[in-house]
């Protein structure tokens, strides 16, 4: 094979890889684009185009139960994210430092379990646990459940950040007369902040989108938006679903991109 032929093969390969890349993107994003497109359709059927209209968005905003579910979702997401971020960060710090109190491998495995086990299993476990200890199902149990799975995600992101931190940073702070607390406030926290914020945003996204676990541990009146939408689809499908989906996709995308941008900082 001549050099020229080799180069030609290489170029053909490159082109195929590029095409493959576009195909993957199309596969992933075309359905989303379709939903977004049809959310602006004026037709009464989900899949037909009836000219540009914002009527389904209007309907969505006037839909009482749906707005209530949205409010629930936001409160639950906000609260569970804040708590999970604090605990997840603390867990990451203790994993990084105090390796001796439990063997590191064991603690790692235990902490990462919620990431690995299927949602349904986690949901059943939590439901069983809540009914065993006699907690009434509702917003409270949803929040607890979201905190439970989000701690792991936050811890994973923060640990990645900690692993890249020079251990001499904290030693230098201590050497420069900073107390343990001042060292954390002035040096450690600012340095891991991108990880903390990134983990927090990830937690927020997961909480906003969760269906399986929430639908198991919810109570009357505590439904979140994704669970509510899931219920709607089973009964009747109106183009209003498209509008709601578009809203959710947009919110998630913003959060994911924000999370990535923050983690990439510095």
């Amino acid at each position: 094979m001549t050099l020229h032929e080799g180069a030609a093969t290489g170029r053909r390969l490159d082109r195929m890889l590029t095409i493959n890349g576009w195909l993957v993107f199309a596969f992933l994003y075309l359905p989303i684009l379709v939903v977004i497109g049809f959310s602006f359709s004026g037709a009464n059927n989900v899949g037909t185009w009836g000219g540009f209209s914002l009527r389904w968005y209007e309907r969505m905003l006037g839909n009482g139960p749906l707005i209530h579910a949205l409010q629930n979702t936001l409160w639950i997401a906000l609260f569970s994210t804040i708590v999970a971020t604090v605990f997840g960060t603390a867990a990451a710090l203790s994993l990084d430092r105090y390796r001796r109190w439990v063997s590191k491998g064991t603690f790692d495995a235990v902490l990462y379990m919620p990431v690995i086990i299927p949602d349904v299993t986690m949901a059943v476990m939590l439901l069983l646990w809540f009914t065993q200890i006699g907690l009434p199902l509702g917003r409270g149990t949803i929040i607890l459940a979201h905190i439970a799975f989000n701690i792991s995600f936050v811890a994973i992101v923060v640990r990645a950040r900690l692993a890249n931190m020079d251990p001499a940073m904290e030693e230098a702070a201590a050497d420069l007369y900073a107390s343990r607390w001042a060292t954390f406030r002035r040096v450690t926290l600012p340095l891991i902040m991108p990880g903390v914020l990134g983990g927090g945003l990830l937690a927020l996204t997961l909480s906003l989108d969760d269906v399986v676990i929430t639908s198991f541990v919810q109570g009357p009146g505590s439904t979140t938006l994704p669970v509510h939408v899931f219920g709607l689809i089973r009964r009747s499908v109106t183009p209003e679903i498209n509008a709601v989906s578009t809203l959710m996709v947009t919110a998630s995308m913003i959060l994911v991109f924000a999370s990535l941008a923050i983690q990439r900082r510095e």
């Binding site: 020079d166 001499a168 940073m169 030693e171 230098a172 702070a173 201590a174 050497d175 420069l176 007369y177 900073a178 107390s179 001042a182 002035r186 040096v187 600012p190 340095l191 510095e266």
Partner: protein, 385 residues
Amino acid sequence: MEHDVASTEREAGAPGAPPEPAKPAPMTVGVVAVGLHGVTKRFGEDVIAVRNMDLEVRDGEFFSLLGPSGCGKTTTLRIIAGLDYPTDGSVQIYGEEMGLKPPNKRPVNTVFQSYALFPHMNVEDNVSFGLRMQNVDQAEVRRRTGEAIDLVRLSGMEKRRPNALSGGEQQRVALARALVNQPKVLLLDEPLGALDLKLRQAMQLELKDIQHEVGISFVYVTHDQEEALTMSDRIGVMNEGELVQVGRSEDIYESPANLFVAGFVGDMVFLPGEIAATGAVRLKGGEIVQARTTAAPGTSITLAIRPEMLDLYGERSEAPSGRNAVAGTVTRRIFLGESLYYKIDIGASGVFDVRVENVPSAKRWAVGDAVIVDFHLEAATAFAE
């Protein structure tokens, strides 16, 4: 527990050491800045990083801890700083027992090997960090920070972040950040290790000047023997967790306490042999040479000679009398610029490395020449194995 410092601090008189040369006039023993007494540091069951170490660093002194990596020198520094605690023994700074005091309660500051500058703070904030943590009032923080930045010649770079600085500049920030607190002792952990040769040499002199200017004790950890020789008032050589020898640069270089120090500090020719009679060594090839030694006749020894202490002559008659002379053949010549390096094969006895200064009067030898290697009997030391 009593500690007789003079006897535990092994200057040149460690057991098994060669007879001492004319002892240098003793330095005025001033106030002890850092005192380690019987300090041992274990990591886990098996690893002993520092073993029963006694050390006194004097007030205003530039003291280097020199040794290969893993010899315990950095651990020793960390123990003084309070970043590690000794398993056994005590640490005193200007007479005050440190015990389990955390680093932020000790009157010392450290320049870290990685510099450990805070990346989210600019130069000024890095330098003033220690003062702010001590709640020094703002006007004074500003004044002292400015002075420290001037001292390390970084004026005009106050607002830069560490990642916008060169390695040498980062090193200066680390130095200013420590010195601004006016510590009683400054600890430096291989601070020049990451710099290139030229910058390192310039910084060596500058560090020495700064130390002179601020007048505090520096404890300097390095594995670079040349750096230690250049900068230090005194050097402590460490090996495998033990302090092997403490002394001035000249003492360490000219009267190494044992084979390890002899080999680690500077170049050295080693030849195996045994003691033939008091003060006389028989090399493997049968040649008898005079050497400094305390070993008894019959003992197996290693003879150590500095390459620059050796002279070369063409004939035995040309060599000055009353010195050692061994016949050999030139097998290699390496031109080093300021000197020439020869390898001289002396048969069964081994190989001499000889360094001859490149001056007009020096005769140049070619490979294959028969030569006489000549050296003063004081230049050779026999260490019992």
